[in-house]
Each structure stands twice: as C-alpha cells, then as structure tokens.
C-alpha cells in the first residue's frame, strides 16, 4: 500500500472516531507530536511531585500527611502510565527521561513556582489540578488509544485530588485570621500561573491547529481557559476569598466571566527557564536519577545473575 493510501485510512479512522492503536500506521508527524505531548505530560507528573513533596514532612496533621503522601504517590503512578503510553510509540522511558534532564523536553511551567506555605498545597489541588483536569477530561477522547485510556484512569484520581485541595482551603477559610490570610495569599500567587497552564492564546499556539485536525486536541486553549475561569470564579465565593483580578466580572451577554490580561512576558520567561524554581526542579530530578544509577545497575546485575543460575539449573 502506498503512503497516500495509508494516510487515507488513517484520516478516515480519525474522521470516524476510531482510535489509533500502537500497531496502526500513522504519519511520522502524528507520532512525533504524541511522543512530545505524552512525555511532556509524564514529566509534568514527575516534576509536579516536587513542590507538593516539599510539604510532606511538615503537613500539619497525620491525616493531612497521609492524604498528601498518597496524592504525590498518585502523581508518580500517573507518570508511570504516561511513560508506558509514550513507549507504545517506540520511545523508551530512559530516552524520554534523558530528554527531560538535558532540557530538550519541557514540563508544565506551573511547577516552577515555589510552595511557600501549607495553603499552597490546597491551592495546587484546587487550582492547578482543577486546570489540569479540564485538559485531561478532553484528552480522555483523544484519538490515540493508549493515551486516551491512561487519561481515563488519571482523571478519576485527579478529581479526587481537586476536592482534597479545596477541602484544605475550606478549613483554612473558616480558621483563624492567620489561616484566612494564608489562604488568600496562596490563591493570589497561584491564580495567574494557573491560567497560564492552558498555554498561549489560540492565535499564538504553534501546535494547536494540526493537533485539533488529528483530534489529539478537542478544545482550544482559550476555550478551556474560559471554562476554568467560569468554574473557579464561582467556587471562590464558597471560600469567601477573592481572585486577584480587578477585571473579573460576569458578562450577561456572553454568559461568561470576563477577566484581565495574562502576563505573557512572565509566561515565556518561565518557559525559557527563568522561573523561581526551574533550576531547583531539574537539579532535583537529575540528582535523584544520577544517585539512583548504582541502584538500577545493581538490580539489573542481580537479575542477570539469577537468570544465568536458572538457565544452568535447567541445563
């Protein structure tokens, strides 16, 4: 079959909402886009463990400690599913991780902000996981089968995380004046970076058009962002807190919230590596990987020895 014919079949499947599976023929660019996106997503889960992990040892109660630890562990699990999904496209976990450590692969910029107080753990759950969920719910219907299936599992856990985050803030919002101030401060710091999570405006987004055509992506950055603003602008009232945007206002005509301009200079700056924690995050990942090298070597050396002994026994 010619490439043109294969491409016809591929596009017809996309058109008919038939999932693309690992062994199916797919255009190189489709494969590359998915490897880039899925590994970026996996890296975000793994790097995302760091800012929250920062509070495990200091969680204010045993119950909160257990919940946070389980949550960060879930993120590791998500990273595993996603690395596996990326492997179905012909890349290896090691290769993918090397790309992260060399700086070639990106991860979500939101994790380059520091967690300064306990309230940040609540704000991350509510806002950051909240923003991530909107994107991930859309990806449950993405055209590549293994990615879509990984997303279904991830979404279930993420919505649980979001509720836990909101619950942390809810308790703070009913607490002492210091606790309420801590809560508002965390919302102030995490609100704008959360909006940036949806990426550049549709007009500026380089990968969007092709990804939409291939049904990897099913909603635009701006559509998802608007959905997020509409959701959070209502939820923040329950907390008796405010969002740090003087332009935030319900618009009767559009039936959406209007909101102020995003600081794109800051966005690109953090993407380029100049965020408050870019260096620390990558350093921490590299350190864990490098210091774990002897452990991984020992495990494979031992496995090889065992295998040899078993073979000898059989012989």
């Amino acid at each position: 079959m010619s490439v043109q014919e294969l491409e016809q079949i591929f596009l017809a499947k996309i058109e008919q909402e038939i999932r693309i599976e690992p062994k199916d023929w797919m255009p190189d660019a489709y494969r590359k886009t998915l490897i880039r996106q899925i590994s970026q997503h996996a890296h975000s889960e793994i790097v995302g463990m760091l800012p929250e992990g920062n509070w495990i040892s200091r969680a204010p109660s045993l119950k909160r400690k257990a919940i946070l630890l389980a949550k960060v562990q879930d993120e590791a699990g998500h990273g595993l599913y996603l690395y596996s999904a990326a492997e179905t496209l012909g890349t290896t976990r090691e290769q993918t991780i090397n790309d992260l450590h060399s700086g070639k692969a990106k991860y979500s910029s939101i994790f380059n902000y520091p967690t300064l107080t306990w309230a940040d753990i609540g704000a991350i759950g509510w806002l950051v996981d909240g923003a991530a969920i909107l994107n991930q719910v859309m990806l449950c219907r993405t055209s590549y089968g293994p990615y879509a299936r990984a997303m279904v599992r991830i979404c279930k856990e993420e919505s649980f995380h979001q509720r836990q985050g909101f619950d942390i803030l809810m308790v703070l919002s009913k607490g002492t004046p210091e606790q309420r101030a801590m809560c508002q401060d965390a919302i102030n710091r995490w609100w704008w970076p959360s909006l940036m999570m949806f990426g550049p405006h549709d007009s500026e987004s380089t990968h969007s058009e092709q990804s939409t055509q291939w049904k990897i992506k099913r909603m635009s950055n701006d559509e998802l962002r608007q959905k997020f603003v509409d959701m959070i602008a209502e939820q923040v009232k329950v907390l008796n807190m405010t969002l740090p945007d003087e332009h935030l206002k319900w618009n009767e005509e559009t039936k959406h919230y209007d909101f102020g301009g995003i600081n794109w200079t800051e966005f690109w700056n953090v993407v380029k590596g100049n965020g408050p924690c870019n260096k620390q995050r990558l350093d921490a990942r590299r350190k864990a990987w490098d210091e774990g090298a002897w452990v991984r070597e020992a495990a494979s050396a031992h496995a090889a020895k065992r295998k040899m002994r078993q073979e000898k026994q059989i012989a």
Binding site: M49, S57, P60, R296, H302
Partner: protein, 255 residues
C-alpha cells in the same frame, strides 16, 4: 498493670511507626526509580496508618471522655524526651542501601512482634496487630528482596550495603532489650516479650544475608540503646522540629 505502662507501650509502638514513616517519606519524589519511589512511599503510608491507629487508641485511654488528647496532640506536641521510638528508625536515610537495610531490620522485627501481639489480651491492640501484620509481611518481602539484590548485585552495591551494615548494626540490639513498660505490658498479657523475638529475627536476617552473600558482623559489637526511654540520637530533634513545625507555629488550629 498500670494505665501508664499500657499508654507508654502504645506510644512506643506508634512512635516507631511514625518516625520511620517520616524518614521514608523523605524519598517521595526522589527515589532511584519510579516503581521504587512508589513502593517506599507505600510503606511510609502503611506506617502512618499504623501509628494513627495506635495513637488514637492511646488518646482514648488517657482521655476518659475528655477528648483533650488526639492522635495529633500525641504526634505533634510531645518533645524529644517523650518520644519512645527505638534509635534505629530515626537514623538518616543515607543512600538507598541504608534505607533498605534499616527497613529490613525493622520490618523483620515488627513482623515477629505483631505476629505475637495478635494474641494480646487487649482485643483492640490485637486487632491493630492483625491488620498491620498483613502490611508488614509485604515490607519484609520487599526489603529482603532489595537486600539480596544489593548484596548480590554489583561491587558498588555490595560495598554500600556493607557500609550500611556498619552504620546500623549497633542500633539493632535495642529492639530486643525490653524497657520497663514493655516488661510490664508483657507480664500483664498485653505486650510481647521482645527478648524472645531475637532468635527468630537473627535466623531470618541470616537467611537473607546468606542469599545476599554477606554475613552478620560480630555479634559482640557494642549496641546503642536509650531510645525507648527517650534518650535519642541527635537526629530526632530535627525530625520533630520539621514534623511539628505547623502545630508549634500555629497552636490550636484546625487543619
């Protein structure tokens, strides 16, 4: 049996679990490989769960309906001298070999301890032991496999395991020397005679070490002790400073 002895006995069991959980949780996000990051976090979660059951029971015991003590006041508002964990669990993570060996020593001890504690005359404690034993059985298996892998892996992993043995061996003796409250709890039919666990423990350690192609260091080596009575190594103060930070800075808050 005095109420104090039961209370102290429960705190001792709980503190062991909590402090090791706190140590293990330091690995979360920094493990040598993703699957093991998840595994060590899981063990940490199991241990937090055990400590919570024990603290809750201890709180119940001293409250007599007043509700003043909770799992959190017991974990977060006692100072170094009041913690009754053994010295082994508060030792730093070190490298993966040290973390693994600490876990192996402790889980093996905890396995034999909980096995007997299932027959405790205190039904509540027996139930906690029974539930925890399932978890600990896995901890023993997981840590044994890693001891074997590291001992019989590469030259480097073997050397690191031997270093870990050097670091930790002196903290294993304390496990089998009963404190006053352990003896009292044993006599009252509630606790376990820890000195009787030693033979089983050594046998299991020897079996795993043999497979790991290493051997136990001289058993006459000096053993450190004191943790059970609140005489800790300098590490515990820092563990508590970090763990208790929020409760100390913002006293009396709900979280």
């Amino acid at each position: 049996m005095t109420k104090d002895a039961t209370y102290n006995y429960l705190l001792h069991l709980a503190d062991n679990a909590l402090i090791l959980a706190q140590r293990n949780s330091e690995w979360c996000g920094h493990g040598p490989v993703l699957e093991q990051d998840i595994a060590i976090t899981n063990i940490s979660l199991d241990l937090i769960g055990q400590s919570r059951s024990l603290y809750q029971y201890a709180a119940e015991l001293i409250n007599e309906g007043t509700g003043a003590a909770t799992e959190d006041t017991l974990a977060y508002l006692r100072d170094t001298r009041d913690f009754k964990n053994c010295l082994l669990v508060e030792q730093p993570n070190g490298d993966w070999a040290q973390t693994i060996l600490r876990q192996f020593f402790f889980s093996t001890y905890q396995f034999f301890l909980y096995q007997r504690l299932q027959q405790s005359g205190d039904a509540h404690l027996a139930a906690i032991a029974e539930k925890s034993l399932k978890e600990v059985t896995y901890h023993v298996r997981w840590s044994s496999e890693w001891v074997i892998r590291l001992g019989d892996g590469t030259e480097e992993s073997r050397n690191r395991l031997l270093n870990a043995l050097d670091e930790l061996w002196m903290f294993t003796g304390e496990l089998f020397v009963p404190s006053a409250y352990e003896s009292e709890a044993f006599k009252a039919g509630i606790g376990v005679d820890v000195s009787a666990l030693k033979a089983n423990w050594e046998q299991r350690v020897n079996e795993v070490f043999e497979e790991a192609t290493i051997s136990i260091v001289s058993t006459s080596a000096w053993m450190q002790s004191g943790g059970k009575e609140g005489a800790h190594t300098e590490h515990l103060g820092f563990i508590l400073a970090e763990m208790q930070y929020m409760q100390r800075v913002y006293p009396g808050c709900e979280w």
